[in-house]
Amino acid sequence: MFHKILIANRGEIALRIIRTCRELGVRTVIAHSTADAQSLPVRLADESICVGPDDARSSYLNLASIISAAVVTDSEAIHPGYGFLAENPAFADICRACGLTFIGPSPEAIRLMGDKAQARVIARQAGVPVVPGSELPLKDEDEALDVADAAGYPVILKAAAGGGGRGMRIVRSRAEVAQALAACQAEAGAAFGSSEIYCEKFIEEARHVEVQVLGDRNGMRLHLGERDCSVQRRHQKLIEESPAPALPAETRAGLHKAALAAAASVNYVSAGTVEFLVDARSGHFYFIEMNTRIQVEHPVTEMITGIDLIREQIRIAAGEPLGYRQDDVRSTGHALECRVNAEDPVTFVPSAGRVTAWLAPGGFGVRVDSHLMAPYAVPPFYDSLLAKIVVHGHDRAEAIARMRRALAETVVEGVKTTIPFHLKVLTDPAFVRGGFTSVDSARLTAP
């Protein structure tokens, strides 16, 4: 087991990692920006080291600074959390070259699945269904037109270097293709450093269902069930749950099998998530991408399986075998997570400011992952996630009731939050009956 791990992240996930390290007897160093110098994870880590000024590019994305920080603090491993450098293959490569253990999969797996167009090819070759569309990034406008015509409108243009719901554009007719492609290329180039775009058929009424996988260095690989993350706004998840409700048994089993096949095709080690769209009309499922990192919504899987995913990542990185098999994984009950963001609950415009009061919910079956304190100035340089409120219940109805109760007692003063939106979804008939789709998301997030 490692003696010391450097955490190259911030906010709630940094705190999450610190907590598990404490339980494992591993010393923690947190690499942070100047803006986060007084944050809760910095206070609670055993050591801290400032790696740059406020902006993410100079600090949390500053590869050299973070590696340097790990070296001068005698850290043996780096946990990248999610976002920032978590899916940066060059970072994973450099860690390896410097004798630092990157807590995650190999640079090769990150690279292969990081190119979202190539990931489709890999999945298809592994026998996993993918959304009809272009095999490779589109060469030019003519190819875009051909692919779009063949797939049938509407189509969606996606950045090959994107992911996580960013760099996408829906195109509803042939006439729109040229302009949409140009706009997408420009945005992608600016946001992701690559203007490669691929095209997929756009599924009008889709559910987003993803599968958690875990693999150790001995080649043992298993899944920890699926999560339904269909409640979204502009492809950003807001509510997640496990297991996915209202899914036929064979679809569920098919998703698990497909996820393992996709993970196996890149010899995946550590925690990862394979994402699918389930066409609500036809019931078919399609691979869309694989995320080679821990996800924000990992707690819902932890609540139903009783497995600490961060702990498993660290154990796996330290060379330990998983120590259990697929048959040993049991899930009980139902879990829900609401992402409390510092945003207006109607417009979703970020609500910057100072949190002056924070009362977390609690009680039976409630878990809160949050770096919030009061008073706390929410830094405007990073994402707007304040807290993840997670509940577990014996069944879905109980979990929903418990989440309503937990949200109702949550107090955040000083900034606006998405809590009123969550409460609206939790009473919406489409959500309550199960099988919420992208159409329901659009309806509930419409201005």
Binding site: Q38, R43, A64, V72
Partner: protein
């Protein structure tokens, strides 16, 4: 350093439970004395590993740990407002001289010009020369040779009046 060490015992008599337990006890004592987290010993007959249990349950702090865990001196308390601070522009190891045998770039009391190299910060085997942003006199050197420094850490106080 708390790493596992391996050592081979000379072959001795049959281990038996008692001898093994006694061995484990002695290893556990060694663990503490040497500040290790794990020791494993192998002989022809037996292999014993002693491992420190996961960190003891921490008593919940009575109050939140202090807001500023770093050891940087509070320079604003110590210095006159005219002094200029040279801060580390990067994470790395601070060195007073260009090599272990060379003289330090500056001493306290030395005069410096704007742009003059005052120290090295080594990051990833690359030596970065750090320059003074003002001319004046070195009033105070705030860090030790070979010390790890973080971004923004105050390194020198320079009196620009001199």
């Amino acid at each position: 350093m708390a790493r596992a060490r391996r050592a081979r015992l000379p072959a001795s008599g049959p281990p038996g439970d008692e001898r093994t337990v006694e061995l484990a006890r002695r290893l556990a004592t060694l663990l503490g004395e040497l500040g290790l987290s794990e020791i494993e010993i192998e002989s022809a007959e037996v292999r014993v590993r002693v491992q420190r249990a996961a960190a003891p349950v921490l008593a919940p702090p009575a109050t939140l740990p202090p807001a500023a865990p770093d050891e940087r001196p509070l320079v604003t308390d110590l210095v006159s407002p005219t002094l200029v601070t040279v801060e580390a522009p990067m994470v790395g190891t601070f060195y007073r001289a260009s090599s272990p045998t060379a003289d330090p770039y500056v001493q306290e009391g030395d005069a410096v010009k704007e742009g003059q190299v005052v120290c090295i910060i080594e990051a990833m085997k690359l030596m970065n020369e750090i320059e003074s942003k003002v001319g004046g006199q070195i009033a105070r050197i705030l860090v030790e040779n070979g010390q790890a420094v973080e971004y923004g850490q105050p390194l020198f106080l320079i009196d620009p009046q001199s």
